[in-house]
Subunit: 317 residues, 2 copies
């Protein structure tokens, strides 16, 4: 008997800097209704889904980032989404900038929450793998300064029992790190939700010249790491983009729902607001979990020590 | 300036049970000469490249496996390969069954060696992730009994300075485990050589019925895990098959040379003896090593503890 959860990925087109949260929530609501028309039980929205992706800018005053962050959740701007989702009996994953007071000081995190069908917040995740730079990049290559504004997430990689399974969350650059999926699958994660804001072009310096990475690579890498994460960890991965030309920067689309086989079973085709859906059988990977990827039988942790003992590369040969 | 090593992948077609090692070495020599005609400096042969893949059988007497293993390396059967490679100034990776005496008892390992252009053995690796079962499978699904004959490799994941870079080795099922690549890339591995013998069909039990996994998945997974391993670890991966119908079992081909971009830059198209080649620039990933995948800056080992602390899945939610 399959153990099905019907999941929608709600890709967002660009959000302009001047667009109000109330206007964005209207867009999220429109996609919620489309997801409902598909019979979805769970909707996955992107990373930082309430505002433009502000870390593309280097603000002299880092506290200028506060205006893009939420100090409570829900809050009046987002309450209509909570209310309507609860009325429809649909849960959701939502990414947003979080502004909080902890340990006696202000902190900002790149955060996601999982909200149950009853409108209650089931769990929170704070992005661990912050990409980009802290300071302005004189070469002009960098387009991401998350390290300037956000702290490294301090909640680890928690998982949550919900939607008849074990759910995990990750955000954007987390997907490139195999440790992300493994830390959750070792806790039994069966479905990992992941929002992203990722440029379509990566520039680099070769000698003194700024050159562009081959154009196919951004999208290829986006899918490659999520497909490998799904297969190697016997879990579903739902990757959801903020896409399109946002404040002069082009974000990739490619939102997708990936089965534990690694197959992409649903994929967005636009770079605008778009909803895709799939029935995710959380038992699809049972056979792999019992054979090839029976971790208890086959993982050889006595050979993995360097992975947690050592942060960077150390060449000793 | 690129830092080039020209690598050939020498895929083998099937080896019959009755085929002598001397006959197989003739085939390896023919491919060595073809690799030489390409100007290759390093040839990668498959896993267990000297005999048929005997762990497909369940021998009542496990010591029947000894006949498929080497007690010394080189030995008279393999010496012609060492001699000719040295004469041509070509190094090679070779997989074979190893029979040894350690700690006062007989042990068998699924082993690979790296041989330098001067004919000396630079390093040895013993397969860590043994697939399959130890005992006969009453469902008839299993086609691999390596756990019956081989011990888990006891050399960890060593890397070796050779061919103007840092070289790593892995074998077959190791490629499905992200820990394999990570353990080596944290030591600076720039090129990972990997031989495999992998069936094209995976059967499974669903209830009481034996069913076949969708046919596209075996090859898809083969490339997926190696491409992700290459990209996520900024290294080249050279995956080399024993391919074709061997003793009634069909092995996949798909041997390939994968760049640190994750791109397959050369791929075999047959399931027979076949040589492919590529110039591998060991500096191709320098930019990624300094930015996205700067491990020292971006790995967050304080969140990875479960990966080495815990072998199997533990669900506590």
């Amino acid at each position: 008997m399959p153990r099905l959860v019907r999941v929608a990925a709600a890709q967002l087109g660009p959000i302009a800097r001047e667009e109000s949260r109330a206007a964005v929530v209207e867009r999220l609501l429109a996609m919620l209704h489309k997801a409902h028309s598909f019979g979805a039980q769970l909707v996955v929205y992107p990373e930082m889904a309430l505002t433009t992706f502000f870390p593309r800018w280097v603000f002299d005053d880092v506290d200028d980032a506060d205006a893009f962050c939420e100090t409570s959740m829900p809050n009046p701007d987002v309450q209509p989404l909570f209310d309507e989702a609860k009325r429809l009996g649909i849960g959701f994953y939502l990414g947003y900038g979080e502004l909080t007071q902890e340990e006696g000081r202000k902190k900002r995190f790149n955060t996601s929450i999982l909200v149950g069908a009853d409108g209650s917040i089931i769990g929170k995740y704070r992005k661990v793998h912050l990409p980009g730079r802290k300071d302005a990049d004189p070469t002009g290559c960098a387009g991401n300064f998350e390290k300037r504004y956000y702290e490294v997430g301090n909640l680890g990689f928690p998982v949550f029992r919900a939607f008849d399974g074990v759910m995990g969350m990750a955000i954007c650059n987390d997907r490139r790190w195999p440790e992300t999926y493994r830390a959750m699958s070792l806790q039994g994660a069966e479905l990992i939700m992941l929002g992203y804001n990722t440029g379509t072009v990566k520039r680099t310096m070769v000698g003194n010249a700024q050159v562009q990475e081959p154009a196919h690579l951004s999208s290829f890498h986006n899918h490659l790491v999520m497909q490998a994460g799904a297969y190697q960890n016997c879990c579903w991965v739902v990757g959801v983009a903020k896409a399109g030309m946002e404040e002069g920067v082009e974000f990739m689309g490619g939102s997708c729902i990936i089965a534990p086989t690694g197959d992409i079973v649903a994929q967005a085709v636009t770079t605008a607001d778009e909803v895709i859906v799939a029935d995710c059988d959380l038992d699809l990977s049972l056979h792999n979990r019992r054979t090839t990827f029976n971790f208890e039988v086959n993982r050889q942790i006595q050979t993995y020590g360097i992975i947690t003992a050592q942060r960077g590369v150390v060449v000793s040969v």
